[in-house]
């Protein structure tokens, strides 16, 4: 009986192959096993995970200081990653932030079936508190009857203008969009190089289309949206803007584009319909408008409308997680952050909670930067934000950039881009699960 002696190397080779095959088989089991287990070590006493941005960090720390027996873990994050992170946490079964600071659109995008992140705040907030928010401002937070967030601040559109330049050129501040167009054409003839607005990026949606109540994203139900860019309320905006864009009275660069900022620093911006936070953060900080020149006027009205409507550009909110082990404590944080006078009266942006707004007004003009205190205008404009723009799951502003803004930059008219914008929006909405009317 001949025995073939196996060399050690051959046995080693066989063993190696066996190990590799075993590893191949075990790997998928290891990756599947983790997702179904839940974090049983967390209890009702585990610290609240609070996600803020750098600007709100001090506010969150203030809450911790005033409530020392609440355990909190405050983390500064880039909230644009919220959607991806929520998906990741859904798979691993833990890690969701109990409280998060995010725009209502962002909250809407994680409120869908795939993400199912925010919790309904209505059981935790009294109706009195809800009534004190500026009218219509909680609408973007209300999805399918549930209140998924509490507004932190408002970014109501007003008409910022340079009072000194207007007086110098002998112009009066317009009160209607028709007057705005006429003024723009005059400026293009008499003072070329000066601008009365910007149209290069998605801010234009909020500056021009929203105040006209143009149906870009009107929610008619939890999963249905009305989009109609052929509506007269949309085409009138295009008709108003196209001659101004052609004449150069409205810049083809967006308000944050370096080319537009250059116009600002050379003090060539006569006026601009923009959000309330532009005063401090854009005119003062970026455009470096000289002191004593800037003032605010109410949003413009269309002659055909009975009253003026405003838009808003930004404004974020506080939401809580539906997976929170301590929802009452999380809701308390959200309520305090959005309504407390300690935080909101010193906040950097216009509070959505009106009782705090009057306290906030004391901070706005303490350095006499403005030609006149803009607070009364800001307060009145806060109540004029048109509620017809709901929070949608798909990215309408980016579609605007890709279709309309890009078209205008390359010589197309706004009017001719509306058709493409309509089809892009409808398809995006349908891909996100909406029925479009």
């Amino acid at each position: 009986m001949a025995v073939h002696p196996h060399s050690f190397i051959q046995q080693f080779r066989f063993g190696l192959l066996a190990c590799m095959s075993l590893a191949m088989l075990l790997f998928p089991l290891a990756s599947c096993g983790g997702s179904s287990s839940t974090d049983t070590t967390a209890s009702a006493n585990s610290p609240l995970l609070v996600w803020v941005d750098a600007t709100r960090l001090d506010g969150a720390r203030l809450y911790q200081k005033l409530h020392p027996n609440v355990k909190m873990n405050i983390v500064v994050v880039d909230r644009k990653t919220l959607g991806e992170k929520v998906l990741l946490f859904n798979r691993t079964g833990s890690g969701w932030p109990d409280v998060v600071f995010a725009e209502p659109n962002l909250v809407a995008s994680v409120a869908d079936k795939a993400h199912h992140y925010p919790a309904d705040l209505k059981p935790y907030v009294s109706q009195d508190i809800l009534n004190n928010f500026a009218p219509g401002t909680l609408t973007p937070c209300t999805i399918d009857g549930k209140l998924y967030c509490l507004r932190n601040d408002l970014a109501q559109e007003v008409l910022w203008y340079n009072k000194t330049l207007m007086k110098q050129f002998g112009y009066t501040v317009p009160t209607t969009w028709e007057e705005y167009q006429a003024l723009g054409l005059r400026v293009a003839k008499e003072h070329p190089g000066y601008v009365i607005g910007s149209f290069g990026d998605e801010s234009a949606l909020d500056m021009y289309f929203w105040p006209s109540q143009c149906p870009v994203a009107q929610l008619t139900g939890a999963d249905s949206v009305h989009i109609n860019l052929a509506d007269p309320k949309c085409t009138r905006v295009a008709t108003m803007l196209d001659p101004l864009l052609q004449a150069g009275a409205i810049s083809k660069f967006g308000p944050f584009d370096p080319n537009f900022i250059k116009l600002g620093t050379s003090n060539k911006i006569l006026m601009e319909p923009a959000a309330s936070w532009f005063g401090e953060y854009v005119f003062k900080a970026s455009y470096k408008t000289p002191g004593g020149q800037l003032a605010a006027a109410l949003p413009l009205k269309w002659e055909a409308d009975s009253e003026p409507h405003g838009g808003a550009e930004g404004g974020a909110a506080w939401a809580i997680s539906s997976h929170s082990k301590n929802p009452k404590a999380a809701a308390d944080v959200a309520i305090w952050m959005s309504t407390s006078k300690e935080f909101q009266s010193t906040a950097v942006t216009f509070p959505a909670y009106l009782p705090d707004a009057d306290l906030w007004s004391a901070t706005i003009d303490k350095d006499n930067y403005y030609a006149e205190n803009p607070y009364p205008v800001l307060k009145q404009a806060a109540g004029m934000i048109d509620p017809s723009y709901g929070s949608i799951r798909y990215d309408a502003p980016t579609a605007f950039d890709t279709v309309v803004a890009a078209g205008v930059t390359h010589g197309k008219t706004v009017a001719s881009s509306l058709g493409d914008f309509q089809s892009q929006l409808s398809q995006l909405a349908q891909a996100s699960g909406y029925t479009v009317s």
């Binding site: 959607g83 993400h115 990215d395 890709t402 930059t409 891909a431």
Partner: protein, 307 residues
């Protein structure tokens, strides 16, 4: 004894049995493991979840519904059209450009050509997103060292240059500048393998440089050219980083779902629909594999007989 000799001679002409352990396996092992865990298994996993219903919590078989959804998405066909347009522009330019430069280098082997080889290779050291950032500066008329060219073409602002219809050209420029160098080095190495006797014979027969290049050198390295085509095609159809970053540079005036891989990313990480995303990824994989198999079998890539 005679039969033993015959047997040994016969065996020598075919497969040779080695005594002892083949250390080649140890060298290949790390690559095989990485390929297994980061290449083959994720692909199989993607194939698996492309057939699963993305909306149910427990895995349930969904048939080809994800593929149908992907195909009917309004961005699907245009994304593939974009990728195809890019490949139609880039593959010929890369192939011709790389071979031309490699032939030039090989025509006169000298110190100069060695230095040039290094210079061609250097841009390849700047890879992926870093190279896109570099090119964003090159494309911006206000800061680019080549602004005189951009101004001459009528571009005053970065958004005049980075504009969606221009994307195939821009991406070709970026891909060629970073990728060509590596392939030039590979092709040059391939040329080095050509035996000097053949070159001598060609010279004696009266071939000039161009005839030598086209009729002698290129056919002899045809396998390397096919290899380059396979990898370039697969890499090109999976384009992702460059269009993503370029769209950030111009505040989203370029669609964020321009290429098929970007569309798959959108489905996975913005819509949370991993099933459709996996379907698109699998389609890309199949396209790459089909391209590779076509090239391999049409050119008998793996044949070992001497031609």
């Amino acid at each position: 004894m005679a039969t033993g000799t015959v047997a040994r001679t016969v065996v020598a002409g075919t497969k040779r049995r080695r005594k002892g352990f083949n250390y080649g396996y140890i060298f290949v092992l790390p690559y095989v493991l990485l390929l297994l865990f980061f290449g083959i298994m994720p692909s199989l996993y993607a194939l698996f979840i492309s057939f699963i219903d993305p909306n149910s919590d427990t895995p349930s078989f969904n048939g080809v519904a994800n593929y149908v959804t992907a195909f009917h998405d309004f961005r699907f066909l245009s994304a593939f059209a974009h990728a195809l347009l890019y490949l139609l522009l880039w593959l010929p330019i890369t192939t011709v450009g790389v071979l031309f430069l490699a032939l030039l280098l090989h025509a006169h082997a000298s110190h100069f050509s060695t230095v040039m080889r290094l210079i061609y290779f250097l841009p390849g050291a700047v890879t992926g997103s870093a190279s896109v950032l570099l090119w964003m500066f090159m494309f911006d008329p206000s800061v680019s060292p080549f602004s005189f060219i951009l101004h001459a073409l009528g571009s005053k602002d970065i958004s005049d240059v980075i504009y969606e219809p221009n994307l195939p050209i821009l991406l070709t420029i970026i891909a060629f500048s970073t990728g060509a160098g590596g392939w030039i080095v590979v092709m040059y190495g391939a040329f080095q393998n050509i035996s000097h006797e053949i070159m001598e014979a060609a010279r004696i027969d009266g071939c000039n440089a161009i005839q030598t290049a086209l009729s002698i050198k290129l056919p002899l390295i045809s396998k390397y050219i096919v290899y380059m085509l396979i990898l370039s095609f697969a890499g090109g159809i999976q384009l992702f980083v460059e269009p993503q970053l370029l769209s950030r540079a111009v505040r989203n005036t370029i669609s964020s779902t321009w290429s098929p891989n970007e569309l798959a990313y959108e489905f996975a990480f913005n819509l949370g629909n991993f099933g459709v995303s996996a379907a698109i990824s699998t389609i890309l994989l199949i396209i790459g594999l089909v391209g590779a198999f076509l090239l391999i079998f049409r050119t008998r890539f793996f044949s070992t007989e001497v031609r």
